[in-house]
């Protein structure tokens, strides 16, 4: 078991280091998420009640779209010089490779969210800081669920003829419960609901994340198999 977690952390640090040294993925996707945020400001009337009500949705749309970039990059970079084959040839457990990559994607997305949240607080004029403790569970669980399903589907879609274009089509329908839970718990937290009041949503988010982290770790082997 300890050996398994050493493998997970090795894959995780490999991805984290390459990302940290190049920073190409993170800067591009932050800029992209920022643009999505701005576009929504132009689409809805700024400073209106509508846009503040839509804030949770806007946030998750920005995170989801930028998230697809994170996910595809994490496997496109592995394809160069056949890195993925090398990784698969190593004696590491396939589940450990999946978990390592998934955690790296999760970290990248959490970083993105940490950058986007303050920007959203400024542009949409909503109070994020005061509600932070109640926002966090929904945010973490939603991101974990997205990373879990997305990492598996990214590995899959890059091997099809449509490449990364297939990723949103595979991921979005499956992601519906996680997105709903994330958006609704976000909305509840912003409206000042207590943690127990939004527990219905965080429970669904937790169930989704747990179920699919486990399932995808088991199924990853069949996706990368040659």
């Amino acid at each position: 078991m300890a050996f398994f977690f050493r493998q997970v952390s090795a894959v995780f640090w490999k991805d984290f280091k390459t990302e940290f040294r190049t920073r190409e993925r993170l800067s591009a996707m932050c800029f992209f998420a920022f643009l999505v945020l701005l576009v929504f400001n132009f689409v809805f009337t700024p400073d209106s009640e509508t846009i503040r009500n839509a804030a949770p949705g806007i946030f998750w749309v920005a995170v989801t779209f930028a998230g697809f970039m994170v996910l595809t990059r994490s496997f496109i970079s592995e394809r160069e010089n056949d890195c993925l084959t090398g990784l698969l040839l190593s004696p590491a457990d396939r589940g450990a490779i999946y978990l390592g990559k998934m955690l790296a994607n999760l970290c990248a997305m959490l970083l993105l969210e940490a950058l986007i949240l303050p920007l959203m607080a400024v542009f949409l004029n909503i109070d994020v800081w005061q509600n932070m403790p109640r926002l966090l569970p929904g945010l973490l669980l939603g991101t974990l669920g997205f990373a879990a399903v997305g990492t598996l589907f990214a590995a899959m879609s890059l091997k099809t003829r449509l490449r990364e274009a297939l990723l949103p089509m595979l991921t979005l329908p499956v992601l519906v419960p996680a997105l709903l839970a994330a958006v609704e718990s976000f909305r509840g937290a912003l409206a000042g609901a207590s943690l127990s009041e939004i527990s219905g949503w965080t429970n669904i988010g937790a169930a989704f994340a747990l179920l699919f982290v486990a399932t995808c770790a088991l199924l990853f082997d069949y996706v990368v198999e040659e």
């Binding site: 091997k159 099809t160 449509l162 089509m169 669904i204 699919f212 199924l219």
Partner: protein, 234 residues
């Protein structure tokens, strides 16, 4: 296996034909007209059985997908892919018959109710399943990918259901846990229609799978012919 399956598809097809001839009579003539909803309620005899057939087919996709990943036999993949097609067909029927009922009763073609959202999302997942099939480069890989999606899609269904139910719901609950709230004549028509639809789904599935087996057999015969064809001339 292919021949016996073909025979089964004929038997089931004949049964489905008889069932489908009797079902409209039972639903439209025999069962009494519902007091509040009037004739619009009649769609219930085709809408709900389609939904049952859809769930049965998607459950089969789940089972066959697991069997395929465990045993790696092509047969299971054929069964899973065909069950997904049948499921998608009945899912489309559910989505088409629902609005016909909803318009006169709810006053809108579509509402974002839990049951409707679940069906729509399942439809989307299995359309993605079909896309995986047509956009894959290698048939073996496509089979594995589809099995993975089939499993994930089915596991996702209860979560979609609970999340959308928490979100909003107004769909009538026909089959409650304690009792079925139907008068006897409606119940007879309903149960018969359910049986007829399930048999129809089974007949289509059996025919579809036997067709796929026949195609495989043809391909292998062709390949064998090509090999022996290159040896003889000279």
């Amino acid at each position: 296996m292919g021949k016996r399956l073909y025979l089964w598809s004929r038997i089931l097809g004949a049964l489905a034909l008889i069932g489908m001839l009797i079902a409209p009579w039972l639903a439209l003539v025999y069962a009494s007209v519902e007091r509040q909803m009037g004739l619009a309620q009649k769609i219930f005899y085709f809408h709900v059985p389609s939904a049952f057939a859809m769930y049965a087919a998607f459950f089969l996709v789940f089972v066959f997908s697991i069997l395929y990943l465990v045993q790696k036999k092509k047969t299971w993949d054929v069964w899973a892919a065909c069950a997904a097609e049948v499921g998608l067909l009945f899912c489309t029927l559910v989505l088409l018959t629902g609005p016909i009922w909803a318009k006169p009763v709810w006053g809108a073609w579509w509402v974002w109710d839990a049951q409707l959202t679940l069906t729509l999302v399942l439809w989307l997942i299995f359309v993605a399943y079909m896309m995986l099939k047509s956009y894959s480069e290698d048939p073996l890989q496509s089979a594995r990918f589809r099995a993975v999606l089939g499993i994930i899609g089915f596991l996702d269904a209860p979560l979609i259901h609970y999340s959308t139910r928490l979100w909003r719901t107004q769909h009538p609950e026909v089959v409650r846990a304690d009792t079925i709230g139907l008068p006897p004549d409606m119940l007879v028509a309903f149960v018969f229609c359910c049986a007829a639809f399930i048999v129809l789904a089974a007949a289509i599935l059996a025919r579809r799978v036997s067709l796929e087996f026949a195609r495989d057999e043809l391909e292998s015969l062709k390949a064998g012919f090509r090999v022996s064809g290159t040896e003889t001339p000279g």
